[in-house]
Subunit: 119 residues, 2 copies
DNA sequence: GGCATATTCAACCGAAAGGTTGACGATTGC
DNA sequence: GCAATCGTCAACCTTTCGGTTGAATATGCC
């Protein structure tokens, strides 16, 4: 996987890993505490954390016998920027991009879902 | 995969599919033309297009024996909003966007020098 | 030292991803 | 009508993914 976007998007594709990122948004956490809310084993969560780390989405720092997990938003920014480029069709129109962002951020709360493009 | 974010991010995790989306950014294309620049078989590309369709990232419309593929950016927006509402980082900065465009567009070029489908 | 705690490793498993090939159903054009 | 074109389907293969379990490796505590 040469392209970092590969690993970032692959990491984001799993609901458990997205939930972990959301948890880490509030605070840094130890591995055991990250694992607590999930039904799966600790080892499974540990694997998820490895995947998130390799994607650059989190960092892990060991202090004593506890490993602390910390959100690393930079990797998310890269992917976000990539996706933004599809939001508007004039690739170099930064004004449109700016307008788009304003609308986007103000609508950040209601996550509407759309499907069935067949229409 | 209940959550639409699952399928959207999973679709974006593959470099072939991201390349397809970039191609469709310029114009709607027939399946055969989409497949032309890639080394893999037509059937493989057809599968990728099915995945993109199920994620809602593109739509496919059959006219005669040709099936046209069209970008559907709305699905991307859902994922984008998720990342924005998530990010502690300041709203995507325009410099990063500009830098991204330069890199992305210069990388997209050699792929299309083959037969320039849909140009 | 000895034991509990924190985390990973290793081996294994079933399912899904991503690719191939060959056959097949439509559609078009001569 | 028949052959070429467009695209998918079906079967198959290999690799990766996401999970399990049990053992192993630190580390902290008394």
């Amino acid at each position: 996987m040469a392209d970092p976007l590969d690993s970032v998007f692959a990491a984001l594709a799993d609901p458990t890993r997205r939930a972990i990122l959301t948890m880490l948004l509030e605070d840094d956490m130890a591995v055991t505490d990250v694992a607590a809310p999930f039904e799966m084993s600790l080892a499974a969560v540990s694997k998820h954390l490895t995947i998130l780390t390799r994607a650059g989405l989190i960092s892990q720092e060991r202090r004593g016998r506890v490993k602390w997990c910390k959100l690393e938003p930079d990797a998310l920014r890269t992917a976000s920027v990539w996706m933004q480029s599809f939001g508007q069709f004039e690739p170099v129109n930064l004004e449109a991009f700016e307008r788009f962002l304003k609308v986007e951020l103000s609508e950040a709360e209601p996550m509407e879902t759309k499907d069935a493009p067949g229409a």
